[in-house]
């Protein structure tokens, strides 16, 4: 039976080349957009360099104060972290780092913008940066506020040139201070904004006095690492309990929120407690995907109706000789799935080409899109969805055709 359906599906596709082209173009083009988008999301969300211990980490990066008429949301102050987060019992390590700031420096009369980030010693233990040369900033160097730095591979090239001589031991100047390079790490894309930087400096070298600001808000965030993943809920609860007991600063506020998030929750947090980042991200992605799919699907439904109606004589004959409406719906859906599947294959090939060009053009440095199994699974699912969506209605409509009218047409 399936072989027969396959034969006729291929014959129909070859007979109406223009329709086939329109259908395949619609499917493959849409799929390409979706595949590139999912590859992008997959890369941003699932690429775990350098935080390879995500399964046992929680990210504390926001605090929000809310009053009747106003709200204030920000990163954490260093004193907040040392007074409250560092007091947590469950984490075995707590990485603290600032958001990245930027400064200009001049090398051989060439202006270079350097993004810098302050980090504590545990930062290098919690995160698994890949060192191209040298080593991380040690605990002792941090404690002594030594002017040392770990730089990214990209910054090494930009600052010291493309020759392969080692950068370790050389000096890099940022914000009028010279730092000795002690390590070079593989670069991160800017989409990993919580960890991205060109140079990493010991937290103790920060120009602003770390404990000066006793308020809650500031420019720091923390990654708390549990002994094992089963301790993560406990760690989350512990932090929630700490936050619940925090005194609210100032009369204009009546609520205080801060969370120890998983990576994804933290990545999409909007900084507004009343609108969950997860809901926002999910809604945005769903709406985009629906919008991208809607037009080609409607077009495909239309093309399918025309194509199927052209075959009314065949429908009449099949019904006369014993096909039930259900069998016919099944046949046309199978045919449509074959069409979508072909479109899917073309879509996958197109996506690979598009990703190659995106990677090649370096639209976002160090973000290398690739078609992995997750993306392929999305692609297959989308294909099936497409095939069913655009095939069911025309198939159902056609299966209801009166046999005599179908044969007369």
């Amino acid at each position: 039976m399936l072989k027969n359906y396959f034969k006729i599906a291929i014959a129909v596709l070859r007979r109406r080349k223009f329709f086939t082209f329109i259908s395949l173009f619609g499917i493959s083009f849409t799929l390409t957009i979706l595949l590139v988008m999912t590859a992008f999301i997959d890369k941003v969300v699932n690429d775990n360099y350098p935080d390879k211990k995500r399964d046992r980490s929680l990210y504390i990066s926001h605090i929000e104060l809310r009053g009747k008429e106003s709200m204030n949301s920000s990163g954490l102050s260093y004193s907040y972290i040392s007074r409250f987060v560092n007091k947590m019992k469950t984490p075995v390590k707590i990485a603290v780092s600032s958001g990245f700031g930027s400064t200009n420096t001049y090398v051989n009369n060439r202006k270079i913008v350097i993004n810098y980030k302050y980090a504590n010693a545990a930062f290098w233990e919690v995160l698994d940066f890949e060192f191209v040369e040298g080593k991380p900033i040690s605990r002792q160097q941090t404690d002594n506020a030594e002017r040392v730095t770990v730089i990214s591979e990209d910054m090494k090239k930009e600052y010291f040139g493309d020759d392969n001589s080692p950068a370790v031991g050389k000096y890099i100047e940022a914000d009028n201070i010279k730092y000795r390079v002690c390590g070079v790490v593989k670069s991160l894309p800017i989409t990993s904004y919580t960890l991205y930087s060109d140079i990493y400096l010991p937290i103790t070298t920060s120009k602003t006095k770390l404990d000066a600001d006793k308020g809650y808000m500031g420019n720091y965030s923390a990654i708390v690492l549990a002994e094992n993943s089963s301790d993560v809920p406990k760690m989350k609860k512990e932090y929630d309990n700490i936050v619940a007991k925090l005194p609210i600063p100032g009369k204009e506020w009546d609520h205080l929120y801060s969370h120890a998030d998983t990576y994804i929750e933290g990545y999409v947090r909007t900084g507004n407690e009343k609108s969950s980042g997860m809901v926002y991200a999910f809604t945005a992605i769903t709406l985009f995907a629906l919008f991208v799919m809607l037009l080609p699907t409607l077009n495909l439904v239309n093309v399918n109706i025309t194509r199927i109606m052209e075959r009314s004589s065949e429908i009449g004959v099949r019904k006369a000789f014993g096909a039930s409406s259900k069998t016919l719906v099944y046949q046309f859906i199978v045919e449509n799935l074959i069409l979508t599947f072909l479109g899917g294959i073309i879509g996958v090939v197109l996506s690979v080409v598009v990703m190659y060009f995106i990677n090649d053009a370096e639209l976002i440095a160090n973000l290398n899109l690739s078609l992995n199994f997750t993306v392929l699974a999305y692609a297959l699912f989308t294909c099936m969805f497409f095939g069913l969506l655009s095939g069911v209605y025309p198939a159902w409509r056609m299966s209801k055709l009166n046999i005599v009218l179908a044969l007369k047409a």
């Binding site: 014959a11 004959v317 099949r318 000789f321």
Partner: protein, 221 residues
């Protein structure tokens, strides 16, 4: 074999009603070869479609092989047609995208048969109509007479007890028409298949056992 009682068919639009069939009572015996004649628009094809369960009467009852089919569901009707009935149409209605063998196999697709059985039965049916050397051809590569023979092979492949033929020779010249008629007569004689044929051709009708004439939706002979 087929019993039609008080069959009436009315076509309704918003403004007019057309009575296509009016109180038709007809008994067709097993093994009978019956022809239906009448001027264009007299309801011949409508009657044949109703007998073939392709169309529903507005009134009346149909009994085929001792089964009342009036309240059959879509699925039951499909299964019943598949098992009991074979159809031959004036314009053949072959599927041009499929080869001759696949066209003939079609009724067997809706039965519990293996691909091997289907191929064997379809080849046998094509041998009966003298087209076993054309199984890989497509319908568009055949003459009108050959196409109608493929259609006959398709109608008989499932070994139905009844064949309903709507002007099977209508599109053919007299030589080819006679060839087709000979095949049908042979089927009726050798296999005992009950055949009901709508025709415009007196000469063909005379070769059958009985002739029914319709005029304006009513039986006049």
């Amino acid at each position: 074999m087929i019993r039609l009682q008080n069959i009436e068919k009315v076509y309704r639009t918003d403004t007019i009603q057309t009575l296509a069939l009016n109180s038709i009572n007809l008994d067709i015996e097993k093994g009978e070869f019956l022809s239906i004649m009448g001027p264009s628009g007299c309801g011949k094809s409508t009657l044949l479609n109703i007998m073939g369960l392709l169309d529903m009467p507005s009134k009346g009852s149909i009994n085929i092989d001792s089964q009342v089919t009036d309240n059959f569901s879509d699925k039951q009707l499909a299964a019943f047609r598949n098992k009991k009935l074979g159809f031959i149409f004036q314009s053949y209605h072959l599927i041009n995208d499929l080869q001759v063998l696949d066209n003939v196999e079609l009724p067997l697709l809706y039965r519990d048969t293996t691909a091997k059985e289907r191929k064997q039965l379809a080849t046998e049916a094509l041998e009966k109509v003298g087209l076993s050397n054309r199984i890989k051809h497509f319908p568009t590569q055949l003459s009108g007479g050959q196409r109608q023979r493929v259609a006959i092979a398709r109608a008989i492949v499932g070994r139905p007890e009844i064949i309903l033929a709507d002007e099977p020779t209508g599109n053919l010249d007299s030589a080819m028409g006679n060839e087709i008629m000979d095949i049908l007569l042979q089927l009726n004689r050798d296999e005992g298949t009950t055949i009901v044929m709508v025709t415009h051709d007196e000469h063909m009708a005379k070769k059958t056992h009985r002739l029914v004439r319709l005029f304006d939706g009513s039986q006049v002979q």
